[in-house]
Symmetry: none
Subunit: 107 residues, 4 copies
Amino acid sequence: MSEALYEVSEYEDRAVKGREAPAPVGHNSGVTIAADRLRSIIERVERLDEERKALSADIRDIFTEAKSSGFVPKVVRQLIALRKIDKNDREEQEELLDVYRQALGEG
Amino acid sequence: MSEALYEVSEYEDRAVKGREAPAPVGHNSGVTIAADRLRSIIERVERLDEERKALSADIRDIFTEAKSSGFVPKVVRQLIALRKIDKNDREEQEELLDVYRQALGEG
Amino acid sequence: MSEALYEVSEYEDRAVKGREAPAPVGHNSGVTIAADRLRSIIERVERLDEERKALSADIRDIFTEAKSSGFVPKVVRQLIALRKIDKNDREEQEELLDVYRQALGEG
Amino acid sequence: MSEALYEVSEYEDRAVKGREAPAPVGHNSGVTIAADRLRSIIERVERLDEERKALSADIRDIFTEAKSSGFVPKVVRQLIALRKIDKNDREEQEELLDVYRQALGEG
DNA sequence: CCCGGCGTTAATGCAC
DNA sequence: GTGCATTAACGCCGGG
């Protein structure tokens, strides 16, 4: 059996279960709905991915600027990586502390 | 902001004058300026990186949602990849794939 | 306590329950047997894993060779992926992809 | 320009340099040669991948057997992973960690 | 039996 | 264009 058809059916099921039923527009409305939904998914992903790439470009620009100011990009990256590790460590420690405090009945 | 630019300029001047690394220039104002600048660079990068990670999380969420709607994530990713190829180099990559497939005597 | 030691104990239990009792050669023979068995398991897995890694290296080499011959590795991988899909569930996945693409109104 | 055509040309060059020149069979012999080469690449990869999957299956069987003998698969995997680390780079790894820690002290 | 997490492996993007 | 560092995909496992 086609997964796609199953997908469509399932989507119809979900729609019926969870929403107002769409206006009955024909035997293939489920397909249309699924297609719309798929298009929405793809476009949202593409949109977010573009924004993400733009941010990557911004970061690259900053490193370029830093480099032209005499900073060694590699070292700056290492610094940032270390700060990230430190931050993670701190978060873990705090989580651990939270667990302890909860174990003590919230003081 | 204007101060930051001034610091930038001064640092650039020093770099132009012949030193790669930031260096103390009599008293330590040069070091302080460089440190401030470095801090600025790092914080801007970290900020942008957080935004970027947030976008990645959003994308993951969409795929999770898509999956729970019955779409096969892998196939959706393939679709997006194909669309990207189509966008970028429709007259190159796509054709290349076709040539390869035809060379193999396949559809 | 070590899970492994616990595991050994459990293995002794099972061995006693499920098989001919091994010749009573001493108070710790069960442990010895379990240790031997564990060593056998580990060594067999390691052996197979080495072979598997060798195959991965071979595959990488082929792609390197292909690349140096002018083929675009990414496209070659796509081809292989498509062939795999065709093999496995030609009446399922392929159709699914087509349905998705048609649903999007694309080629 | 099509990469595929370039590939073909380059392959022809290689053929000329490294082998007996193939009999001139027509204007598209280069394409045929490239197609053969591509097919060879794909089939070798597919073959190796099958072998690799077979080995994965063998490994899984061993773990299944081990499990039915009372060993805890996860623990056995950890043992193997530890042995791998021990083999490869115990000194290297610790040295690396030291470098990181020192860097953290300096950052 | 499915599915969400995890550990490993491949792919992408980046600097050099 | 190559090596590297990050990031995403895959396969495997245990619990619901």
